[in-house]
């Protein structure tokens, strides 16, 4: 029987971690963009936008991410669209992330005093200018801690993509366990790696928060 060193295990997990990072980045960026677009549609009071976005948020917040991944993978192929695990996982995580982020950010925008809207309206600023120069910067300050807190959830959420055959950290861990029969060692390494991914994000959030408040 082949003998696996700790380094073998670690190296293979490290290689798989690339895909966890890539999937997380896709979810952050895609989810952030879609979430922002939904937020603006809602603030601009596009007809029907409020109702639609509220429904969208409820749908993705009210169902498990696992189901969303299954539906994206198997549901789309039922419709005749053959999607790879990559596409399905990216799609499901982007939608999931956007639903949470748009709701988090809506709260942050709502926390900006009404007088700021009125003063900038009275100065003839357009909605875009108000958001960009007056409301946005103030909402951003409030938004950092909950946004980053949620992004950490997303990094860990990518583990669920293993169920549709997407080979990221968790899936790689399972496969390595099957080859090495050393589950404790493998999963301990796995946990360390998730921690190594998530901890810097939290630390960055702390420093960003300090910077944003220091600029007052």
């Amino acid at each position: 029987m082949v003998d696996f060193s700790i380094w073998d295990i670690f190296r293979n997990l490290l290689l798989a971690a690339r895909w966890t990072v890539a999937l997380s980045l896709i979810a952050f960026l895609g989810g952030g963009l879609v979430g922002l677009a939904l937020l603006v549609a809602r603030i601009a009071r596009w007809p029907g936008a409020d109702l639609l976005v509220r429904g969208y948020v409820q749908l993705f917040q009210g169902t498990p991410l696992l189901m969303q991944l299954f539906l994206a993978y198997f549901g789309l192929s039922l419709l005749g669209v053959n999607v790879s695990p990559w596409v399905a996982a990216s799609l499901a995580l982007t939608l999931y992330t956007s639903a949470f982020l748009t709701e988090i950010w809506r709260g942050c925008v709502a926390s900006v005093a009404k007088g700021q809207w009125e003063a900038s309206s009275a100065l003839a600023l357009s909605l875009g200018e108000q958001l960009r120069h007056v409301i946005g910067p103030q909402a951003l300050r409030v938004a950092v801690p909950p946004t980053v807190g949620f992004l950490v959830q997303v990094v860990k959420g990518t583990a669920l993509a293993s169920v549709i055959g997407f080979i990221e950290l968790t899936k790689a861990g399972t496969m390595i366990t099957n080859a090495t029969f050393r589950p404790f060692t493998v999963y301990a390494c796995l946990a360390l790696m998730y921690f190594a991914l998530c901890y810097p994000i939290s630390a960055w959030s702390k420093s960003l928060e300090r910077r944003l408040h220091g600029r007052r």
Binding site: A113, G115, Q116, A122, A124, P137
Partner: protein
């Protein structure tokens, strides 16, 4: 100015038959008011009489249900973004709670709207902001942050910010009500200097002695209507209606 103009002073604000409802509650029940160029109008009345709502209708912060309103010849058209942007450039507003932008320095508070809306060049905007801050007595605060200022100073910055858009009329919504008593004077002195310089002013105020001293006409609002209107000597010296007499005597008490 063309020589063939009529001798009548130019109308800056014209309000005709304006009605405003909040749900079933009609807060403005048909307001007619014309404000001439350079005129200073004080609006007084009990809380709930509709005076702040009337003021907020002039720049479209409140949407009215009936009637017409023009500023400097521009009609107020709700839902027409271009028309609202054009009209709001002619109307400055100062609020009870200052509403300075807390994330911007004092100078940038003043410069923001001209740079965005009028596409003013940064250098010209900076010069103008310095000039306006000097006018309200805060030249040295250009780089300060709003939360380093007293309430009276913040309100004076808000005045400079409104003036930066070179409005035809300035709306003042109880601008000294949130101030400590010792800070009221510095703000009122600035407003008075604007009146002297010929700025058209429409102000909701509880400062009766100030209204008496500075305004050309006083509007007494009661139950959603203009109940009495006239020069301050008449409104304060010889009130015609029982409601106004009661309002004034309650203030003295």
């Amino acid at each position: 100015m063309a020589a063939a103009e009529t001798p009548a002073p130019k109308r800056i604000v014209e309000i005709k038959g304006l009605k405003k409802r909040f749900g079933a509650n009609e807060v403005l029940k048909g307001i007619d008011l014309e404000v001439g160029a350079g005129e200073v109008i004080a609006i007084i009345g009990k809380s709930g009489s509709g005076k702040s709502t009337l003021l907020r209708c002039v720049n479209g912060l409140e949407v009215f249900d009936e009637g017409t309103l023009t500023v400097d010849g521009l009609p107020l058209l709700h839902g027409n973004k271009a028309a609202m942007r054009a009209l709001r450039q002619r109307v400055g507003m100062i609020f009870q709670s200052f509403n300075l932008f807390p994330h911007l320095s004092v100078g940038r508070n003043v410069m923001l709207a001209p740079s965005l809306v009028k596409k003013a060049a940064a250098a010209a905007g900076g010069e103008q902001a310095k000039r306006l801050l000097a006018r309200v007595g805060l030249a040295e605060k250009f780089d300060a942050s709003p939360d380093q200022l007293s309430g009276g100073q913040q309100q004076r910055v808000a005045i400079a910010r409104a003036l930066a858009m070179e409005p035809a009329v300035l709306l003042c919504d109880e601008i000294t009500s949130a101030l400590d008593p010792e800070l009221v004077g510095e703000v009122l002195r600035v407003v008075e200097s604007l009146a002297v310089d010929g700025m058209t002013l429409l102000m909701v105020t509880h400062e009766m002695s100030f209204a008496r001293k500075v305004s050309d006409r006083v509007v007494f609002m009661h139950a959603g209507r203009i109940h009495e209107i006239g020069p301050p000597q008449q409104i304060f010296g010889a009130p015609q209606s029982a409601e106004l007499r009661q309002f004034l005597s309650a203030l003295d008490g």
